[in-house]
């Protein structure tokens, strides 16, 4: 299958001291509908890779291509527009805007694309329903548990029906019960809606149902493990 996301020779060097190559050279293709897990020891460059894939950071070398659009051809606001419409993010911390309610957080990406109000409202309700958070729609993040916040964040990541969802340790801050719930959500959206995921996680539970596991070490991709016949 044609990959929708492709990274070629991606490298990122931080200008600290003599320069630190957080990511040396990474090439990766993600076909549509796949669930890709990025794993590896702490400090191996997983977050750096994900940030580059999401257009949150610019690579020192190499390029990323999403649905045929090369990031290097986009300026900052072009990249922002791409993030707005094509990419959903779930992070470990600071996911939700604390000034806004759960509902408003989910609606925000749609408002940013100037979607009509009633459509936004309908879709927000649908997404909150899907992540089981309808009953907390009017609550602010302070009034939600970590797991609940993460579920709202998943709903928000799905808001504009993105090409791909990138998640950096989405369960890293949750207890096992909440982790399972969030993971189940990921799985459901992947299986039922063929939503493409790239998830960075230490959690071995993710490995169980990932289609592809990308192993990293010292800023390099050491192996890409395709998993056929995963349990569905």
């Amino acid at each position: 299958m044609e990959p929708i996301l492709r990274a070629e020779g991606l490298g990122r060097r931080f200008p600290v001291g003599d320069g630190v190559w957080a990511l040396k050279k990474a090439s990766l293709s993600v076909p549509a509908g796949r669930f890709v897990l990025v794993a590896g020891p702490s400090g191996c460059g997983k977050t750096t890779l994900l940030n580059l894939l999401g257009g949150l950071d610019r690579p020192t070398r190499g390029d990323v291509e999403l649905r045929g659009v090369r990031y290097s051809t986009l300026d900052e606001s072009g990249l922002a527009r791409l993030r707005r419409t094509e990419i959903g993010f779930v992070f470990q911390f600071f996911n939700l805007l604390s000034d806004l309610t759960a509902e408003e957080n989910v609606a925000l990406p749609m408002r940013m694309t100037h979607m009509p109000r009633d459509e936004v409202a309908a879709r927000t309700a649908m997404l909150l329903e899907a992540v089981g958070m309808s009953h907390r729609a009017r609550h602010t993040p302070y009034e939600l548990s970590g797991g609940e916040q993460q579920r709202v964040a998943v709903a928000r990541a799905l808001a504009n029906d993105p090409t791909i969802i990138l998640a950096d340790e989405p369960t890293g801050n949750l207890d096992s019960k909440n982790s399972t719930e969030v993971m189940d959500l990921f799985r459901r959206f992947n299986r039922e809606r063929k939503q493409t995921f790239v998830v960075v996680s230490h959690d071995p539970a993710f490995a169980e149902y990932a289609d592809v596991v990308v192993w990293m070490q010292d800023g390099e991709i050491t192996s890409v493990e395709e998993r056929e016949g995963r349990p569905s």
């Binding site: 922002a80 600071f94 805007l97 604390s98 408003e104 928000r156």
Partner: protein, 428 residues
């Protein structure tokens, strides 16, 4: 250092760029999305924002009250100076935009600076008199206690002079000059009497400006000088007081008067009212400095709150960028937040200031005079101080990458070049 200056210059360019119509249209399109966010943010930080709004408002109030009292005292002081005779051939006066109101007429009239008129010492049939030429419709008439000039061929005479000379309206008054050929003059009908309320015009003979000029030209021409303009032999005007709208017009007016009367002694800026005004003006200069400081302080308040508000939620703004808000939109968001408090503060300041000026004017001995220009200045300074104060924090944020913000790293004016590496300023 050079990088920093370049970055700063880029920011300044951006400051103006954000006022470009194209950019404003873009901002307008994003307002429906960003306004609710800004409103929410302000509501969440209401006490802090209120305090800044109030201090901006207080700045404006102080500005208005101080400038009104400066103005008021200047007018008052000028009004208290005693009138004097016009001492030179030509007096050119230049008073700023105050004193035009009917109530200010007293001191203006006393200073002889109300409007253009011509005054000439001339031998007349009732003795050596100051002949005044006034323009029709001039407001000086009112100040002389008259509502119109005499009809053509007529003059007005001070009531006391007429009584002493035994003249009555309808009698003829001769006005002229004593030359080599004896008395040359013209007869005028005494059309009426006037009671000058000020020594400056006491005992004067009043006619229309056109008639006075015509008379002088005729008498000048009779003694052999070119007709029309005042020649060497022609009687020079003893006084010509003129009103200029603003300080900027004074040099031009002086130029013109010098051209018209090349031999006359031109005197300006030394009449009591004018001197008083200038004295108060000298007092105004440090006063203006104080007023400017008030705005700098209010601006620093806005700056601080905006900076704190930004630094306290780097991560949040980072998420906003990650979600796809572009740099300009985040910039606009912060600007809107600042704008709300500036708007509230200005409204508070302008209404509160105007109200306090009225109250002080009632209760205090010194009059306060609030000019429209002071209100405009206060509003403009409020807007400018807010704009400059919001600019820096908003620019820091505009230029930071989403990662930088989400990881709560330090922000530099220029995150990409060597500015961030130098870091001597420590970043924010």
């Amino acid at each position: 250092m050079i990088d920093f200056i370049v970055a700063l210059w880029g920011g300044v360019k951006n400051l103006f760029y954000s006022l470009h119509p194209r950019q404003l249209r873009r901002f307008a399109a994003e307002l429906p999305v960003l306004t609710p966010l800004a409103v929410r943010s302000v509501r969440r930080r209401l006490p802090r924002y209120l305090m800044v709004g109030v201090s901006l408002g207080a700045g404006i109030i102080i500005f208005l009250v101080l400038s009104a009292s400066f103005r008021g005292s200047a007018v008052d002081l000028a009004g208290r100076t005693s009138p004097m005779d016009l001492p030179a051939d030509i007096v050119v006066l230049d008073i700023a935009d105050w004193g035009r109101a009917a109530g200010d007429l007293g001191w203006v009239g006393a200073a002889g600076s109300y409007e253009v008129f011509d005054s000439w010492e001339a031998p007349t049939s009732v003795g050596l008199r100051r002949v005044l030429g006034l323009p029709e419709g001039g407001r000086l008439l009112g100040w002389l206690g008259l509502d119109h000039l005499p009809p053509p061929g007529g003059v007005l005479l001070a009531a006391d002079v007429a009584a002493a000379a035994g003249l009555r309206p309808g009698d003829t008054v001769l006005v002229g000059r004593v030359g080599r050929d004896g008395f040359t003059g013209r007869g005028y009908r005494l059309a009426g009497l006037h009671e000058a309320r000020d020594s400056l015009f006491r005992g004067t003979l009043v006619m229309s400006l056109e008639e006075l000029l015509e008379l002088r030209a005729a008498l000048g021409a009779a003694s052999g000088s070119p007709a029309g303009g005042p020649g060497a032999d022609s009687p020079q005007p003893t006084a010509l007081a003129a009103w200029a709208g603003s300080e900027g017009t004074l040099p031009r007016m002086l130029e013109r008067v010098k051209g018209l009367f090349p031999d006359a002694t031109i005197w300006w800026a030394a009449l009591p009212g004018d001197q008083a005004y200038r004295a108060v003006g000298g007092f105004l200069a440090p006063g203006r400095l104080v007023l400017a400081l008030v705005f700098v302080l209010a601006g620093l308040g806005v700056f601080n709150v905006m900076l704190l508000s930004l630094l306290g939620r780097k991560a949040q703004l980072g998420v906003l960028k990650a979600l796809g808000s572009d740099d300009d939109e985040v910039f606009l968001l912060l600007f809107l937040e600042g704008g709300f408090m500036a708007l509230g503060g200005s409204a508070l300041g302008l209404t509160g200031g105007a109200f306090l000026v009225r109250v002080f004017d009632r209760v205090s001995e010194l009059p306060l005079l609030l000019t429209p220009s002071a209100l405009v200045w206060a509003a403009a300074l409020g807007v400018v101080s807010f704009y400059l104060a919001s600019w820096f924090p908003a620019t820091l944020c505009r230029r930071a990458s989403p990662i930088q913000l989400m990881a709560e790293r330090r922000l530099y004016l220029d995150p990409r070049s060597t500015c961030a590496q130098c870091g001597r300023c420590g970043g924010f």
